[in-house]
Amino acid sequence: MSDLLVLAETDGAQTLPGTQPLLGFAQRYAAETGADFDVLLLGGTEIGVEAEAYRQFGARRVVVAASPDLQHPTADRAAAVCEAVMRQTGCQSLAGLSSSFGRDVLPRVAARRDLPMLSDVMRLEKTGDGLIFQRPMYAGSLIATVRIEGEDGVFSVRGTAFGPPESVEKTSEVEAFDVATITLPGGVTWISLEAGANKRPDLTMASVVVSGGRPLRDAETFERLLGGLADRLGGAVGATRAAVDSGIAPNELQVGQTGKTVAPQLYIAAGVSGSIQHLAGMKDSKVIVAINNDPDAPIFEVADYGMVADLNDVIPQLMDRLN
């Protein structure tokens, strides 16, 4: 397999915690294939200050692509930069996080370079037949073991499936990529981002997630009960699709096939029936606790501890005891 460029997870202003498991994947890839990897920090003019923090993970180079035109990195521009940096570094393969950013950017690069791409990579392993990967299909109802045709590929990596990178002694070179040498596409104008209050840990990285469905009734109850319990455990809050659809919770909290994938130490599902689409996003959690007043709810089939009860009674009592 060819050398790998790793597109650090970024919002343009700074790199994001999801970069850690991505580097874990890159170290694994390098160990299994003997190939090198480079890390690309892409964003606005300040993104370069982070280069130092990425020199200790065994990358051959840390490449900085900083430009005011990448402050809000839209997919067309980020893909153009990835493509040019792959040329500059000689990396023929590319990996990023399976996040809304990675999913947006990576397939564009795959098409431009005519590469096969694997989405949501959960595992990689070298075998007698070469490097094989595992990825979910049908909302996680099946796990496919796959191989790409050729030596080069694009990979979106499921953050919950890889641990953080190990530090190594040798420090990486830092190299600048001069964004002015390429023509950035101009067909997309970034207008705004409406982000929720960011007072809790990142949902995909949190070690405790407290999640709820439509029985939470309204946004105020959702925040008071689930937010209250999450805060007592230093956790993040998640939601079902039904809760988001009915306006009880914002979209960035949705866990499931089409939302975020989480695998915390502890997942508390309150008023969550447990559709296959929701289970797809959380069933790799270490311990699952379910609270539901329907004793036949499918969530109990995956829960380590289940309580059949009204969440409006139980959660305040739990908050009391966990104070």
Binding site: R108, L118, G150
Partner: protein, 250 residues
């Protein structure tokens, strides 16, 4: 304006997915439907018409003759005509996007709408690949879409990990539908009957001259390890203790 809507045929997402003795997906009990996200994309095209845009909607599918059923449903939902690119090859996003690019060049639409991912292989790649092949702008994961009066630009609200992002894209562009863009309409019998007279073109994939992209080989599929149900807890004090232990707080 002309809108191309890409349609994929998938098993009903609530179907039970099982493997047969040979490790292949057992399709015997499947009900086949339009990929739910593509259905939302099509609904949005119809709503653009209802909001006053003069719209021609062309639904396109790539698959075998069985796909006609889903394209007929698309016609009943409001597409004006449909194209079935006849192709028996397994659909991977690389080759499908090459075929869609060829259809795009033939049709020259102002906008392509499609689902953000298909609920069978969950790849989430085809639209982005198509945009790159055509060197067009893209806006994925749309939860709101507005086309300007002159039909040269679209404003798209996207559901992203951080919240809701708004972009403006110049047309033509590729836009993918997320869950909350709309709720597709129920198709009534008169619409189904009326759709029978709408054109459905069958086009052999070989006539499009598209390249075959480098692909992915599936070695095997298997069911994930099953979690077994744990135990029921009756007492809140006990549950609090279990939660405290699992969270690493003693």
């Amino acid at each position: 304006m002309k809108i191309l809507v890409a349609i994929k045929r998938v098993p009903d997402p609530y179907s039970k997915i099982r493997l047969d003795a040979d490790g292949q997906i057992d399709e015997s009990d499947f009900t086949w439907v339009i990929n739910p996200f593509d259905e939302i994309a099509l609904e949005e095209a119809v709503r653009l018409r209802e909001r006053g845009h003069t719209v021609e909607i062309v639904a396109v599918g790539i698959g075998d003759a069985e796909w006609e059923a889903q394209l007929k449903t698309a016609l009943a939902m409001g597409a004006d005509r449909a194209i079935l690119v006849l192709d028996d090859e397994p659909a991977d996003p690389g080759s499908v996007s090459e075929l869609l690019a060829a259809v795009f060049r033939r049709e020259q639409p102002d906008l392509v709408l499609m689902g953000k991912q298909a609920t069978d292989d969950d790849y989430n790649q085809t639209a982005q690949r198509l945009a790159a092949l055509l060197e067009l702008s893209q806006a994925t994961f749309a939860s709101a879409l507005e086309v300007s009066g002159d039909e040269k630009r679209a404003t798209v609200t996207r559901e992203v990990d951080a919240g809701r992002e708004t972009l403006e894209v110049s047309l033509p562009a590729i836009i993918t539908a997320d869950l909350r863009l709309n709720e597709p309409r129920y198709v009534a019998l008169p619409a189904i009957l009326k759709a029978r007279s709408k054109p459905l073109e069958r086009l052999p994939a070989s006539e499009l001259g598209a390249r075959k992209a480098a692909g992915v080989a599936i070695i095997k599929m298997e069911a994930p390890p099953r979690r077994s149900a744990g135990r029921r807890v009756q007492d809140v004090d006990e549950l609090a203790g279990l939660i405290r232990a699992a969270a690493g707080r003693s």
